[in-house]
Symmetry: C3
Subunit: 448 residues, 3 copies
């Protein structure tokens, strides 16, 4: 979107006279360290009209052209002495101790800790807290570690990129917040320095809120796929000695498992809400905390819903692909061939026509309603809704989607579940297993 | 998005005196009332680093653990006396009178009215205005009622949740705006206290801008569905005594009505713009107000367009489902059977092949262009476009989509409309009815 | 989204007392000129609680009712003298000279240049710079030209509409930024006045970052379409004298070209990254600038990826349409007819069944992964990702999508490419051409 950062970058070097008045407004900022992050940070600061001095232990080893011309390169003491108030610590946290000699020079100044956490370990103090211990007379602020060097270089003109900031010093936090805004970022105050650990591990996280729901969905898929394999392919193969239906593995079985997964996952979205409501009724109060597993579950409903939508959409596309399969052509031609051999037209099957039309209709509409739910879960769309609208969409439309999906399954199943042939090896068809939890949820909902 | 208002307001250089109270940091805030909203508000304030005192008439009846430990519980007088400047009124508006005894204690303080409107009635003063009458010496600010208790409890770290605020007191508004930002919300200044009524009913609204377009689309669907039922099912059934085509109700007829609705709705998106242009030409000025019905219509174009896209997309999915139907298999097999009986291959129908390919192509491309339009109507995507790009997409691509949809219909209709068999009971096919308005719009557009 | 600007507009006339305190806070602002932009700007300022005076050379010729009642109309001198600090220049930049008489009256005041650039010419000073030359004693600020009159009138309550601002005067910029926020816009500081040219041409741009990728994609489509036309239609027609396959132009050939385009475009997304990595390895440093063509290419990867997704999605929908074609029915019926004539059922083709299921599966999954990529490229979704998540999605999922697409193509191709019949006129099938670059990219990736 916004990659037009080049102009200010260039205009600075092209027309230094231009930049002057801007520089007068922002007091010089120092950056200790000359690595990648330091370089990108310097670029961004210069582009935002800030005078920057970079302090390094070995200034002479920095290749020329690495930093923009407007940046002054000094040794560490020189850089710190030039900084009016803000000093970025762009060195590895392991090397904080080596800066102890600057303690007095840094006293009273704002030190910005931009380091990431080393591992996901929860124990031990955060880098920023250790820095604050080492430099008790400085105002330590945690921030900018969640921003990548790429974002620093390209800029974020739309100001939507968040920069999480925390500090025990209100004064220091205010200065950094102001600078972050000048750089085009969206500073978010996370509170005191004790929040630093959370900020430090934030860049290491990989979709933390998705891991649980993805695992659940994947296990459900494995279960239904394995069950279908046993019931429809392996056991018949062993029993009938060689009747080979393994060709169903690639598409048929996947398309049989996906709707079951989608249905159960959608039910899992609404189950914890019902359980919570029942718990409140049973306890007689709504002010007691829920057990933490229920709390977690409640907070993952959005992810479960989106995964359910993903499975349902894949099932839809797979089903639409069915007429394109080689086997469909094969069956059609042979059906026609047998009809001709039998010497009669295929009789009109009114019930069969209604059944297929009804389950297709319910499926299409259910998927349509799920799409609306998925769209409103986009941040900007959801933010424009008031509470009543949000409830209408997520609860009202959600239950409509669930009902349509159940009807889709029941019309698909028709009365076949009442015939003994549906239970080879005493195993019910998988859509019958899948429809149990959703039906329970729907019945409970009607009673509550 | 935009919460950097603090800087100019506080900016060190301008008004150092201003910055002081914020640094202290936040003076104690009082909340009167101990209900759900009070509890959630207290949680959020504490989490944002604000000292909170809750005032209740019966402090002893509050269960321990209901409020976080950091919150002080007092009687109402005690709470108000501790509040430095801000007092939240988290009591039912009916009970405002019962607080009249606090009038002098509340004088000069900022009272934040967080109540919702009781009903959708437009008459009578708003709660906030009544509060201002009762406490003439206080600075009444309306706000926070649009935020749900859930959002208060979970926070809104991304600062995108809006809080609408209005007041006759600039001073009071400024304080509340500042607090809202500290809490992570996005305050929006709605002007004087007369805007309070609108703010109070905002949480009661249910998609106000959608009701009109949804009703129009639904009525169009009813019309086309009913028309198709009469023409294709009921009248033939009555005339031929028992020729049963009722199986077409579930899918066929829906899939026949949806494209007609989509086409007419899409034309309705572009009709008011043409009418407005014609009106301006006729009046000879563009500075006269449009009649309000036209104004409303113009403001609903986006919703109409999205509903048209929804119908078109459903039509697309339904059409792709056709080969999956039981009846399709039935027809295919019997066609082959009859071909065999006749003893000849089916002859090559070049025109028929071109016709089907052309109407499928136009349909797919039209839906594709409509999808692009729908995507750019997402807030964040649309906000990145400049006016010229917006016009190019909405008007340029929009008319391309309309043209492709009309071509889709015309290729589908081919020359069948010129044959008498297309008019059973003197009723033209519904696609012929649907294509009239879009054609008029397209022709007018070419002339204007 | 936000079209409820009416209330503040009305509240002015309803409750004049109401408006007073708000007005006291914002010093009077003057607008020179009485055109469309001036009118809309005045509306917006009044709605935001700012006192406005409009200065025009011929006040008497302004029709009554054109400006809201709260706006005062004066001659130019009168308007400027009332302005406390801010004067908007809503006149054509060609007429700036005619205002030279106001030079002393405007001295020390902030002049906001709202003009657009006349053409896309890069040479010559920007309007704002010319204004600054003409009025050296005023503080010239560029801004608001990127906002349309429509947005001014309807307002932007969600504060997401950007207003780009630049100036050499920090003081002036600060005042304008503050006003922009009061008006509900999102001011973005673009630096010194030398950035004015860029801001002035911004509204004239039409998707600048899309033109390159769109042209590339279109040329690729032309190539594959033309190649397919030659190989499959024209040359066979000429060679066999009259074997007419021109019916394939409308759908078949498009659906054959689209996947080839999608595949090559997707490879082009990942090619520059690999080349850049190789360049860094070869140069032995990552701090040397890339050649500008590579830089441009790297910056267009997102657009290329979205166009690849568009082509892939269209290919998907076209393919699903295949069973709906007239020719499909024709072929099916005649296949069955021939089978009957031959007197045998069609034999079971296990390999053919596997092949069709596998290429359909890979295609569906590849498109699904591409959809996830497209969704995360939406600004709000992408902004919530940290760097690690972004890399996982864009690089990890991206290569999975590429691999699945290649497998889709290879399964589709099967072993046909090893038969001589696949090379009529010595021309290989187009999917074979399309799969070359992606395979190279995939192999290079494994090595790097």
């Amino acid at each position: 979107m916004v990659e037009d950062m080049t102009t200010p970058l260039l205009s600075d070097s092209e027309a230094p006279a231009d930049a002057l008045p801007v520089c007068l407004t922002s007091p010089t900022v120092a950056i200790l360290g000359s690595g990648d992050f330091s370089r990108s940070l310097a670029l961004r600061l210069v582009a935002s009209g800030v005078r920057v001095v970079v302090g390094s232990r070995c200034v002479n080893r920095i290749p020329s052209g690495l930093f923009p011309d407007a940046v002054e390169l000094r040794n560490q003491e020189g850089a710190v002495s030039q900084a009016v108030c803000l000093v970025f610590m762009a060195v590895f946290p392991e090397h904080y101790c080596s800066l102890l000699g600057l303690q007095s020079a840094l006293a009273g100044k704002v030190l910005v800790d931009v380091s990431n956490g080393a591992e996901m370990n929860i124990h031990g103090p955060s880098n920023a807290e250790r820095l604050a211990e080492l430099f008790p007379d400085s105002l330590v602020v945690k921030g900018f570690n969640t921003v990548s060097t790429w974002e620093l270089q390209t800029g974020a003109h739309d100001g939507s990129r968040q920069v999480m900031i925390c500090s025990n010093s209100t004064e220091g936090k205010k200065k950094v917040v102001q600078l972050a805004r000048q750089m085009g970022f969206h500073p978010v105050d996370m509170g005191g320095l004790s929040a630093a650990r959370e900020i430090e591990v934030a860049p290491l996280r990989l979709f933390p809120s998705w891991s649980g729901p993805v695992v659940v969905t994947f296990l459900l898929f494995l279960f239904f796929y394995g069950y279908g394999f046993l019931r429809g392919i392996l056991l018949p193969f062993l029993a009938q000695g060689g009747h080979n239906a393994f060709y169903r593995l690639a598409l048929d079985l996947v398309n049989e498992s996906l709707p079951a997964v989608a249905l159960v996952t959608l039910a899992l979205v609404y189950f914890p809400g019902l359980f919570a409501a029942w718990l409140q009724l049973w306890r007689g109060t709504k002010y007691q905390r829920f057990p933490s597993w229920l709390d977690n579950w409640l907070q993952r409903r959005k992810q479960l819903g989106l995964l359910s939508f993903l499975c349902a959409a894949l099932h839809g596309v797979y089903s639409l692909c069915l007429p394109l399969r080689r086997i469909t052509l094969h069956r059609l031609v042979n059906t026609a061939y047998r009809q001709v051999k039998a010497g009669t037209e295929e009789p009109w099957d009114e019930l069969g026509v209604w059944r297929s039309d009804l389950y297709l209709s319910c499926g299409v509409l259910g998927l349509g309603v799920l799409s609306l739910l998925a769209i409103t879960s986009l941040p900007t769309v959801g933010n424009t809704l008031n509470w009543r609208e949000f409830t209408f969409v997520q609860s009202g439309l959600g239950y409509i989607a669930l009902t349509l999906s159940i009807m889709h399954t029941l019309f698909f199943g028709w009365d076949f579940a009442f015939h003994i042939e549906a239970y080879p090896f005493y195993m019910p068809p998988s859509y019958l297993l899948a429809v149990v939890v959703p039906c329970i949820v729907l019945v409970c909902r009607c009673f509550l």
